[in-house]
């Protein structure tokens, strides 16, 4: 047991040190919620299962979400449509796909650029522009 007790004596200060670091980080308003919840390879094979679709998404997934297709479009969507000439996607599942905007002609693309430039210079604190910045961050994360 001498070995065992020696190990414990070494482990306890290490864990306490980690605890102190985390508490200190918590006091400085750091985000402590970025927890890696990946199961071990023994418990769960990495990657999607055999029923995954071509995008690697698990098809055995369902949601209680109410589809917003029958809701009145928000003012921002109307404005975006007016600016780009493109009707916004009505499903959040398909929203992140870039396909609709890649087919924009030059005029529509220029209109979109003007809107983006105006938002950047005049509405940096607007929810719309903040959402846009978050989308950029997501693209960087994804790539």
């Amino acid at each position: 047991m001498a070995e065992s007790k020696m190990t414990a004596a070494k482990l306890k200060p290490t864990i306490l040190a980690c605890l102190v670091m985390l508490v200190a980080a918590g006091c400085s308003s750091a985000d402590l919620g970025n927890i890696d919840e990946t199961l071990s390879e023994r418990d769960d094979m990495p990657g999607p299962g055999i029923f995954a679709d071509e995008n690697g998404e698990n098809t055995l997934k369902w949601s209680t979400k109410v589809e917003p297709s029958d809701e009145k479009p928000a003012q921002a969507a109307i404005e975006a449509e007016a600016a780009t000439g493109i009707e916004p996607e009505q499903s959040s599942a398909t929203a992140p796909q870039a396909a609709p905007v890649t087919t924009m002609d030059d005029k529509a693309e220029f209109e979109a650029f003007k809107k983006w430039n105006r938002l950047r210079s005049e509405g940096a604190n607007s929810a719309e522009y903040q959402e846009f910045l978050l989308w950029l961050e997501y693209q960087q994360f994804k790539n």
Binding site: T14, G26, S40, E41, M45, P48, T84, E109, F132, Q139
Partner: protein, 346 residues
């Protein structure tokens, strides 16, 4: 900003669309079902009896799980985690009698085994994550850090999972009597707190009978290490234990894994584990050795070689050969097992 301006333009319409739709999805609750079937055919010889059995691989038994989560707003998420294991003839319960009969219990279906593994609810935010219910204690898995890619058939506690009820010859001692990985207090009913910063994580749990567990972990792509401490307090005999395990995976696929653990029960038993492997694109190979001392009558050790192939998305096939030995007990004999199986995830 690294993204070029030209790329920004298309994102505008997408971002606007997302801004409109996200509030609608904020109240959504998503559920996902997954699981696996993991079957094994194993030829076992304990020096007295030998035979081939069809089993469910208890290293990672057949199971189904449901996970659900919903956004509560203000960076707060809530969820549920439920997992049930359903095994026919679990390998950990195979005995000498199972080698020449219809299976465990002597009847088809006699060896069916069902157990709840996870049933908990959780809340996560900038403060970390809090879970209550049945789930892993904070020190569970602290001996199991392993980047070899062969863990479906070969890991620190594989002896007990594959041959736990087999007797060494006529010694009267089973593998389960003589071997343990001392891997924390396993899954139990508890309240657990997790927090993480970058690649570091800390966890603590408090369960029935005041059992307490804490752990610290570092994880990167090439290296991972975990430390765990526990005390079963009033739920047992106030046994305290500690464990450490680490694994390193080189860029060329070579990998090394090790673990050491023990507790202060009876004779202060300990377990040591070492493993070396080579991981390629789809195939992983490894050899391991481990020894448990002072747990029961005699010290016990094992050595094994294993191969695992990721055939395609969600399908693994594997094989291994292992020898489990017991020292200093009359009537003991080695147990050998040649195993092959497949795991399919859905």
């Amino acid at each position: 900003m690294r993204i070029k301006t030209k790329k920004l333009v298309p994102f505008l319409a997408i971002a606007t669309t997302a801004a409109v739709l996200l509030p609608a999805s904020a109240s959504a609750v998503e559920f996902e079902m997954s699981g696996q079937v993991n079957r094994l055919i194993m030829n076992v010889d304990n020096g007295e009896e030998d035979g081939t059995v069809h089993t469910d691989n208890s290293v990672s038994g057949s199971r189904v799980r449901i996970k659900g989560q919903g956004d509560l707003g203000d960076d707060l998420t809530a969820g549920v985690y439920w997992e049930y294991q359903l095994q026919s003839n679990p390998s950990s319960k195979i005995t000498e009698d199972s080698l020449d009969s219809d299976g465990i219990g002597g009847d088809v279906g006699g060896g069916d085994d069902f157990s709840l593994r996870q049933s908990n609810v959780w809340f996560k935010g900038n403060f970390g994550k809090v879970a209550i219910g049945q789930g892993s204690g904070a020190a569970d898995g602290s001996t199991e850090i392993d980047k070899s890619g062969t863990t479906v058939i070969q890991y620190v506690d594989a002896s007990r999972d594959l041959l736990g009820s087999m007797e060494y010859g006529t010694s009267g001692v089973t593998v389960g009597d003589a071997r343990s990985a001392f891997d924390g207090l396993g899954r139990n009913d508890n309240i657990r707190y997790d927090a993480a910063i970058e690649d570091f994580a800390l966890a603590a749990s408090l369960g029935n009978g005041d059992k307490v567990e804490v752990s610290a972990r570092y994880k990167s792509d090439s290296f991972e290490i975990m430390l765990g401490l526990w005390d079963d307090k009033d739920s047992g005999d106030d046994v305290q234990g500690e464990a450490i395990s680490a694994s390193w995976l080189a860029a060329n696929g070579f990998n090394l894994t090790g673990a050491y653990s023990g507790d202060d029960s009876d004779e202060d038993p300990t377990n040591v584990y070492v493993k070396a492997g080579y991981k390629m694109d789809k195939d992983s190979f490894a050899i391991d050795w481990s020894e448990t001392k002072d747990l029961g009558d005699g010290d016990a050790n094992s050595v094994s070689v294993a191969w695992v192939r990721d055939m395609m998305q969600g399908i693994q096939v594997y094989a291994s050969y292992r020898v489990d030995s017991l020292d200093d007990v009359a009537g003991e004999d080695d147990i050998t097992a040649l195993a092959g199986g497949a795991r399919i995830k859905f």
